[in-house]
Point group: C2
Chain length 219, copies 2
Amino acid sequence: MSKIITLQQSIMAEDEKFASSIREANRERGLLMINIIGSPGCGKTTLLEQTAKHSGLAFGVIEGDLATNRDAERLHALGVPTVQVNTHGGCHLQAHVIGKALESLPLEGLDVLFIENVGNLVCPAEFDLGEDFKAAVLSTPEGADKPLKYPYLFRFSEVILLTKTDLLPHLPFDMKMFEEDVKSLNPAAPVIRIDSIGGGGVGEWTAFLKKRIAEKKRG
Amino acid sequence: MSKIITLQQSIMAEDEKFASSIREANRERGLLMINIIGSPGCGKTTLLEQTAKHSGLAFGVIEGDLATNRDAERLHALGVPTVQVNTHGGCHLQAHVIGKALESLPLEGLDVLFIENVGNLVCPAEFDLGEDFKAAVLSTPEGADKPLKYPYLFRFSEVILLTKTDLLPHLPFDMKMFEEDVKSLNPAAPVIRIDSIGGGGVGEWTAFLKKRIAEKKRG
């Protein structure tokens, strides 16, 4: 039993080294990398589609899925450079896989690189992929009680995107509780509301990205 | 108030032994145990609330969450015997914790015991808790593409519950694709559509449960 634990720890330590070297390489490139985390169907890919259509930013995507390349195809159709990573059942991406994916992408001229993590609020929150920061995505149908139920993600993300706000009239979503709970976990993180159909909030998201990209380029 | 049990680490081989002994004990009791798995906010607790109000069945719940006991309190308010298990960040329940939880519940006279697993489509699908079978829950806002993207859960569940069908008029949900994809992964599993507001589908769900309870009691 102790041998197994030691092995797991050394694998994790190895992966932390990968994460550090990725972070160092992206610092030299001046490339911002954001790890997007949220449940299956919360609107991660739709957010990236909207970013492609409306932000004017040049970006690439590392697309994580257990199986299928449907999301990568959606982004590829919009001309976004995309690498698909299938975890074949694995519940989160790991840094050594991101390192390989980075070698396959044309990074020259990109403003920002997104990692769309496997659809899961739990496991991906704990793994460092060498990103600049994590972005949490929650869709309104998941319910306003989720920040306190999944506190790790909401505490350790630097921005929180509340998607599918177009569904609010049809849902019992307690916005006051949601905002208070997020603030209690993470007072500094901005909450951006995204209307996934009408495109509301994409301007605010783009402004947030441009600010962080400029900070990164200044080094 | 619900009881709170802290999840501890255990190696998988030991956990498989726990799962087998739980299954054996429930066989002797004639007690059906169902492991309910789905994303955060897909409607697992709401389904159990509807089952409490409309099925006429006597059941208990082992309630798994990373943090909080909000779901257990919702069920406790309806008179459902409930044990809360907090995983403190763990992404799935494990059999040895279920064994402890079973000791805390009044099992006498129950028709069925539900395990509401941690909100996660990925990790819980791989762990045997000693249940009779797994039930997959997908809510319509998550999207019709999810069975192929998360195939393990949909392949290894014996019933699939499609919840929040009341939202279908407001969503781009491709029902034909969903049904075909589920059939390709798991031809035998019934798909039950649940209207989480109006209660549609709860009759079909109750009939399914009664059939499986009767089979279990016959041994």
